[in-house]
């Protein structure tokens, strides 16, 4: 059942991705900013939305873990946060490529970029913490605390962002409505988001199963040592 779901997600993700590429290649006008750069914008946005969905799910799972002590939530948080970090990375990289053409630089110290990088660092710290604690219960507890704390930091940064100047086009879905783009791009953005989301769910599922399995292995190892 889970296996079929994974295959299904892979197929849907690939199909949607091809669809976006097809749309970009055939119907959408090429913007003046540059060839080959504008196109990845769709996946850039999609990646970030997937990443943030992941971080929030991770937050929810971490709170549930601390409340219930059920390790399922810990594995879920681990899988989801890790994959969200992966998508944040691809989002940053694609954004950087886009920025090279749109702004002429690979990186700009703009508030939104800086805070995204900060978010990336917070969750990179989360993964480092996970790898450096061996005992599963302690690992689950400490990383749940860090996940909650990290998410609060990221939220705080986003709240305080209005105070800093930003040159980034405002969010496509939005706080400030509309963004700097025409309505025509919404369609491929949604498709790209669907594609990355399916891929994200698939990868998170795999990672979650691995987390469950590694906990089982750890328990067996302890069992053996107790004789």
């Amino acid at each position: 059942m889970a296996q079929q779901l994974k295959y299904g997600l892979a197929v849907v993700s690939a199909a949607l991705a091809f669809w976006v590429v097809y749309l970009v290649a055939t119907t959408l006008p090429l913007e003046v900013q540059g060839v080959g750069a504008y196109q990845n914008f769709y996946f850039h946005v999609g990646s970030f939305i997937t990443a943030f969905s992941g971080f929030f799910l991770g937050l929810a799972a971490s709170i549930l873990y601390l409340k219930t002590g059920n390790f399922k939530y810990d594995s879920f948080a681990a899988g989801v946060n890790e994959i969200a970090l992966l998508f944040a990375t691809t989002g940053l990289v694609m954004g950087s490529i886009w920025a090279r053409y749109a702004w002429g630089v690979w990186w700009a110290w703009d508030a939104r970029l800086t805070s995204m990088l900060l978010c990336w660092l917070v969750y990179a710290g989360y993964l480092m913490l996970r790898t450096s604690v061996e005992e599963p219960s302690t690992r689950a507890r400490l990383s749940a605390v860090l996940s909650i704390f990290g998410c609060m930091i990221v939220l705080f940064v986003y709240k305080s962002i209005d105070w800093y100047r930003t040159q980034h086009p405002s969010a496509v879905f939005g706080f400030r409505g509309g963004g700097g783009f025409g309505p025509g791009i919404m369609y491929p953005v949604l498709l790209a988001w669907g594609s990355t989301l399916c891929l994200g769910i698939l990868l998170a599922m795999v990672r979650m199963e691995q987390a469950e399995m590694s906990r089982e292995i750890d328990a067996l190892r302890r069992q053996v040592h107790s004789y």
Binding site: E216, S226, Y227
Partner: protein, 233 residues
Amino acid sequence: MSAALEVSGVWKYYGDFPALRDIVLQVNAGSTLALLGRNGAGKTTLLRILAGLSKPSRGSVTIEGADVRREATRRKIGVLGHGISLYEELSAAENLSLFAKLYGVANPEKRVEEMLGRTGLERVRDGLAREFSRGMRQRLAVARVFLHDPEILILDEPFTALDDRAIAVLQSLLNEMHARGRTVIMSTHQLREALELATHVAMIQRGQIVYAGERRQEMLDDTGWLYRTYGEA
């Protein structure tokens, strides 16, 4: 007699591994319980849960009917773990008065001097802990545990690390505790010392209690008896 400490259905998991499995234990007020078991059987894990230093995954520990993590309950417990829990940069008297304050001991100065006297440390009361010999540090650690006159004393392997003089001090304090109807729970390898003091014995094996009851004469006569009877070969 009423139960001073009651453990009901306690499980402790490390990940998926159950380090403690359905521990049920009642320790009556005034008894001295020796907790026996091999290394890794779960003695320290259980004692840490009893002392409120760790939370059980399931089940509960109550002391005189109240949860062990409540502050009023913690005031009644004294814990001596593997480490000596002393600050190297504080003097003997400062170490003790720190804990006297944390435990809200009435008339702390007098109590601190009294415990320094009991453990033979009054001459070095202003010496820093890091300058002390091993035995002196151990006696200071013992003084710290008895400082607030706990109703329940939890000792993890008390006799393993101590030198002769510290053991003598500890034994006299324990006997005095016992005479005053206080409860003592200790885990130990040193069967003879522990069994001489104990009124009750509990044996834990791979996270489960395999024997809990009064100390019997057979145990004193032959220290291997318990392991042969209730343990595995």
